[in-house]
Amino acid sequence: MREEMRPVLLTVNGRSVEVAEGTTVAAAVLISGAPTRRSVSGEARAPLCGMGICFECRVAIDGRPHQRSCQIVCAAGMDVRTL
């Protein structure tokens, strides 16, 4: 019997986002429509490498800054803030 995909509810910049179980935080941020960060000169940025090397995907998760969101799976109730 196949298990039902349970949705996971989290917030990105205070807005609720519902994603499928197993979704990365990076994908959740992109689904919410936000860039992951602003560069030092103010450009909007989104993940580049998708494998934890480029650091373009870094966001604050539950108050801890500079987390590589492409390497972290969403958990219920997570508070994600883009930089």
Binding site: V19, A20, G22, T23, T24, A26, A27, A28, L30, I31, P35, S39, V40, S41, E43, A44, R45, A46, P47, L48, C49, G50, M51, I53, C54, F55, E56, R58, R64, H66, C70, C74
Partner: protein, 350 residues
């Protein structure tokens, strides 16, 4: 893992916790990253690596109905196009920078490895998009996010609208940890013997850092390294001929997907090369080497520590990018402070 304070000890960070791991044998399996070449507009959201888009789609990024251009070089392009198409993406173009004749030669050399050749053909069959050779993106545009990309071949230049540009110019081995430990590097690769042993005692290395050869070869090398580390040298030796057989594939890959020198002219003076510190091409080309450029512009001094722009600078300027120092990845100050205490203790005790 971010440091190797002394022989037999690695320092790592997990969450908020600093780990100190003692080892008898260490096998480095650090893989490879994609090579990204800067071109005007490449920092726009919606532009990512070829493998990058694949990884993010697997991580839950919806690509269904999205228009995707896949560009760069290497067999990964077809695989990525097929994977995202299977998830419902509309692949509008596949742009391979290598000329068609290189690909034909490559396919010819793959006749000895029918499984790989068949896989390539299956991938190509699965995607209806046109594939162009000697073709790459020259400019991307969009208001806050990617909207259109201009592609070129030797004969023409045209613009397509798309939601994603998945662009990677093949792979760069991740040799930073091996360098930190002091392993000998030859031609950008970690030097190993037939048992996957590096020049540093008790440190072995398997997979892409010893030569870009794909997953099958990495698995064989992992088996050799694992058995050799466990002292089962005879058992490990049984895999060595299989590895040797695959060296032809490594060579064929390297020769077929060699980068067109024209790609060095992709960036304009205003194009960002270092994405962490927003250092542009025009500021970099005045310097004679990586170290000089780094000191004067902060190029490569952001959180990725030059992993993205360093590889680009090697290709663009022919610079030798070196000087890996701990921490190999950004870590908490607390982790650093503890790490230095431990290394002192070890030195005192030795």
């Amino acid at each position: 893992m971010f440091d190797h304070p002394s022989a037999g000890v690695v320092a790592a960070e997990k969450g908020n916790e600093r780990l100190e791991l003692r080892y008898g044998k260490l096998i480095l399996a650090t893989g490879a990253r994609e090579l990204f070449l800067p071109f005007p507009g490449w920092t726009l959201p919606g532009i990512c690596g070829a493998g990058g888009l694949d990884a993010m789609a697997r991580g839950g990024l919806p690509v269904s109905g999205k228009r995707v251009v896949v560009a760069g070089t290497g067999p990964l392009l077809l695989a990525v196009a097929a994977h995202v198409a299977a998830r419902g993406a509309k692949v509008v173009a596949i742009c391979e920078q290598a000329p068609l004749r290189s690909l034909i030669q490559f396919a010819g050399r793959m006749l000895g490895q029918p499984a790989k050749l068949a896989q390539g053909i299956r991938y190509r069959w699965a995607v209806r998009a046109p594939m162009y050779f000697g073709c790459w993106p020259v400019e991307a545009r969009g208001d806050g996010a990617l909207e259109k990309v201009t592609l070129r071949t030797r004969l023409r230049r045209w613009t397509v609208t798309c939601d994603f540009l998945a662009c990677g110019f093949h792979l760069v081995p991740n040799t930073e940890l091996a360098q930190l430990i002091g392993c000998r590097i030859e031609d950008g690769l970690v030097a190993v013997d037939e048992m996957q042993r590096t020049s540093v005692e008790n440190v072995l290395c398997a997979g892409e850092p010893t030569g870009i050869g794909g997953v099958e070869m990495a698995v064989i090398e992992g088996q050799i390294a694992g058995l050799a580390a466990a002292g089962a040298l005879n058992e490990a030796g049984k895999f060595v001929p299989r590895r040797r057989k695959m060296l032809g594939f490594v060579r064929a890959l390297r020769e077929a997907f060699v980068l067109d020198p024209e790609l060095r002219r992709l960036a304009s003076d205003a194009t960002i090369v270092c994405r962490c510190e927003d250092v542009v091409y025009g500021d970099l080309r005045r310097y004679s080497g990586w170290r000089d450029a780094k000191l004067q512009t902060r190029c490569g001094m952001g959180p990725c520590q030059g992993r993205i722009c360093g590889a680009a600078a090697e290709f663009l300027f022919g610079w030798c990018v070196e000087g890996v120092r701990p921490p190999a990845f950004p870590v908490l100050v607390a982790s650093l402070a503890t790490a230095s205490t431990v290394s002192e203790e070890v030195q005192e005790g030795s």
